[in-house]
Subunit: 340 residues, 2 copies
């Protein structure tokens, strides 16, 4: 089969490899209907993360179950499934509390990569969720988005306690930030402030439910949110970038007693007592337990209530993965869908 | 009247001063039934906080209303009242959301000091809560505790989401930590782990509801909590010290998806992305909005369901305040009650 492998920064190749096989009896093999490139895939691409050996890429996936291990009970061959970027057993205390990304048996969701024709998914019963039937083609991008960016934005909004009567601000206008806007709207937020400087992303944010757009950043951005909220700050702020600056922009935009939900992978972030003591903010986040939300997200997509697949603004055949990486690196695309 | 004034580190005097007067029409003057020395009063006493001019001390108080300003509506002369260490208007959006210590008109609860015979309390209607009648003498220490240490420990337990079925750990065995143990018990926690190395505090922690005591600190303390919780960590951890080490002990003792409620005034604490991203902990705390809890706490004390006054292990006349400071500084007392 064909699979995307990164050999070095900016050296992405599509190669012939053997189809993955069942390793553990709890595994499933999924024939991928669609996969995609994640913002986090750009870290090694840009040389920020070291590549020690040729690295299979991709952790977002949906498709049809081709084969299951002998211990798999709930997932059946022929089902269309969506899974998360972390595999989880679904039975441990942490999973049952809704933190499947903290599962005591946590593993990568697609250990040999998901930018490929087939992927091996561990702990299939705990990890995969079947759709009600075979999806129409136009639903596939949205189901793929549920696998990571939608689930992550949704968790950010939940962690920030977005809901009716709340003003929600979202720091970051990438695919995750845009999905957080969509989530805040679905969760009933009254007012949604999107931080964004890009006209196309501002437009999609507004379509997803943003009521206000703030172009300023840092202290100026914070001042603007306070101005929009009677001097108090937003009730709920989603941090969807992961830098020191964006985290502090999020904390500063939150009112006393408000909630920051952070889902951007944190890089070199430092928080001091002064940032969190007198400000009374709640901080919660981390790698989204997407599995918690998948049944609900699939249901909303299936009923065509939400269309998160719109975050994909470039679609390419898997063979052209290298061009997909270039397009995201050069910011010509927000999020690239790859068709195996 | 007599009042405690700190002139320099270790120089605490009781002096004759004028009785405080109504300054704003929203003020009340309270004749204090009891007051006390706070752990935070030891910061200037030990020279860690600078003393620029002679400093009136004390912010914990209860007593009888002697006089009210012309705009005071809900508080009446003759009532026995308890208030918080921050005065709050009770009407702003932040107050109404339960974060009175973040009130947009926040002021010190007793701006001219509460280690005195009388104190001026600003924003009396928002700040003071009357008891159902004149309390029996044995209830006064508990009502005084409600003013700060009980309210603060209670907020720590609430911020850590202590409740039925939960395992709660408490870092810090001072008056606040002990009150957090009491709060966790009252809130229905199933198991309460107190970190403590002092036999007398361990004993009171157990009387207040602790089921386990851990003497180890740091990594060893964390390992011990994990051992006691099937490797997972506690659901809820209250941080009642405020140092970098104690905060990290609290975070490390918390399970994925669990809650840290921090109420120790944070000193030189640094938190990185690694501390909060993959660990999935919730962080929330700050100066306790004691006012939120006062009606409930007074009710529980009035019904003799709780006896938080037991944290006072030394009682002295106000005249002997200097000895009270010495006793706390030398750790001969956990918490000193002063009788005006």
């Amino acid at each position: 089969m064909r699979k995307v492998v990164m050999h070095a920064p900016r050296d992405v190749r599509v190669e012939d490899v053997e189809r993955p096989r069942i390793v553990e009896p709890t595994d499933a093999i999924v024939r991928l209907a669609a996969t995609c490139i994640c913002g986090s895939d750009l870290w090694p691409y840009r040389g920020a993360d070291e590549i020690i050996r040729p690295q299979p890429m991709g952790h977002e996936y949906c498709g049809v179950v081709e084969e299951v291990g002998s211990a798999v009970r709930d997932v059946e061959v022929g089902q269309f499934v969506v899974g998360s970027f972390f595999a989880s057993d679904g039975t441990c205390e942490i999973c049952r509390s809704g933190y499947q990304t903290g599962c005591v048996h946590r593993q990568p969701g697609a250990p040999e990569g998901a930018q490929a024709e087939y992927a091996r998914i561990p702990l299939a019963d705990g990890t995969l969720v079947a759709t009600p039937g075979m999806p129409d083609a136009d639903l596939v991008p949205s189901l793929l988005a549920a696998s990571d960016v939608l689930g992550t934005g949704w968790f950010g909004a939940v962690a920030a306690e977005a809901g009716p009567g709340k003003t929600v601000a979202v720091v970051g206008d990438g695919a995750v930030g845009l999905c957080a806007v969509l989530a805040a709207k679905q969760l009933g937020a009254e007012r949604i402030i999107a931080f964004s400087r890009h006209a196309d992303r501002q437009a999609l944010a507004r379509e997803f439910g943003a009521t206000d757009v703030v172009e300023e950043r840092g202290e100026e951005g914070i001042a603007r949110v306070r101005e929009l909220t009677g001097g108090l700050g937003a009730h709920s702020v989603v941090e969807a970038v992961g830098t020191h600056e964006s985290m502090h922009q999020a904390i500063g935009s939150t009112r006393a007693g408000g909630h920051v939900g952070f889902v951007g992978v944190l890089h070199d972030v430092t928080i001091t007592g002064d940032d969190i003591f007198m400000t009374h903010v709640h901080l919660h986040g981390g790698p989204a337990p997407v599995r918690r939300f998948l049944p609900d997200l699939i249901d909303r997509i299936w009923k065509r209530e939400i269309d998160p697949g719109r975050v994909f603004d470039l679609e390419l055949p898997l063979e052209e993965a290298a061009e997909g990486y270039r397009a995201m690196d050069e910011r010509r695309a927000t999020k690239v869908l790859l068709r195996p």
